[in-house]
Point group: C2
């Protein structure tokens, strides 16, 4: 295995580990559990489930891996803060979107050639990328791996 | 810049970003703020400051970068859970250790050659490493970057 592939495989493994840990946590929670706030007055787990799904969905075009699957989630789970009231989205539907988005995304990520991780992501211009080659696909993956870990730490507080 | 170096630089950048974000949060908190629990009955920020310092201190020998600086922190902040009572360690001293450990560690990390990130870490045997070459230094860095993000998400809940 090439040195380059070993490095990108390590990063993909770290991503998958965080997704699996988060997935297990959500799967072990009832729809009622999803209504819990991670701390008094802060986001509900339900909101974070939608938030993470929307952020991961946006990674598909950001990494140049295809069209988004659920842009309709942005308004409630990205643009707006948690309302702490009943949502238009059913918990069952949100869980299905979470699984669908991560499956599609992780599958595409695993298919990327090592060299492709060094290419620019789609939110940076060719000029800006030339000035800072660290604004590559891998940095997006590492950043989003940190993002899911950040919220996982919060969600974990609602469980024993 | 070689492809290998671009990849490892991206990972080091992600580590430094999480450390900086956490550092800013701690620096903006008074010693009294450190006594806050991240959620009712859960770890205090003070405990997490000690916990992260101990975990990062252990990365020095784990990555083969030198001896630990503060093994005395393990008992209170790793082996045992948060007692939610007065500590033997003063907040000022704990803050100094946090800064000292991260400075030493990040400095050593930045000096590592790209190829060195693919070598085994010291907690895996040569045999086990031969069977799974992803048990390399880079995986330790990525794992600990996720670990600090996990707790950063929790500490963030104690601030506005």
């Amino acid at each position: 295995m090439s040195a380059l592939k070993l490095l990108t495989d390590s990063a993909v493994k770290a991503w998958k580990q965080q997704i699996e840990r988060t997935d297990e946590l959500f799967a072990g929670m009832s729809d009622t559990d999803l209504e819990r706030e991670v701390a008094p007055g802060r986001n509900r787990v339900f909101y974070l489930l939608g938030h993470l799904t929307a952020v991961h969905d946006r990674m598909l075009p950001l990494l140049g891996l295809g069209e988004r699957l659920h842009p309709e989630l942005d308004k409630e789970f990205l643009t707006e803060a948690d309302t702490h009231t009943t949502s238009d989205v059913a918990a069952q539907s949100l869980r299905a979107s979470w699984n669908e988005v991560n499956a599609r995304l992780t599958n595409a990520i695993e298919s990327l050639a090592p060299e492709a991780w060094l290419e620019r992501h789609t939110a940076v211009s060719p000029e800006d990328f030339a000035a800072d080659p660290l604004r590559n696909r891998l940095s997006v993956l590492l950043n989003r791996t940190g993002h899911v870990a950040f919220h996982l730490g919060q969600i974990r507080l609602t469980t024993k």
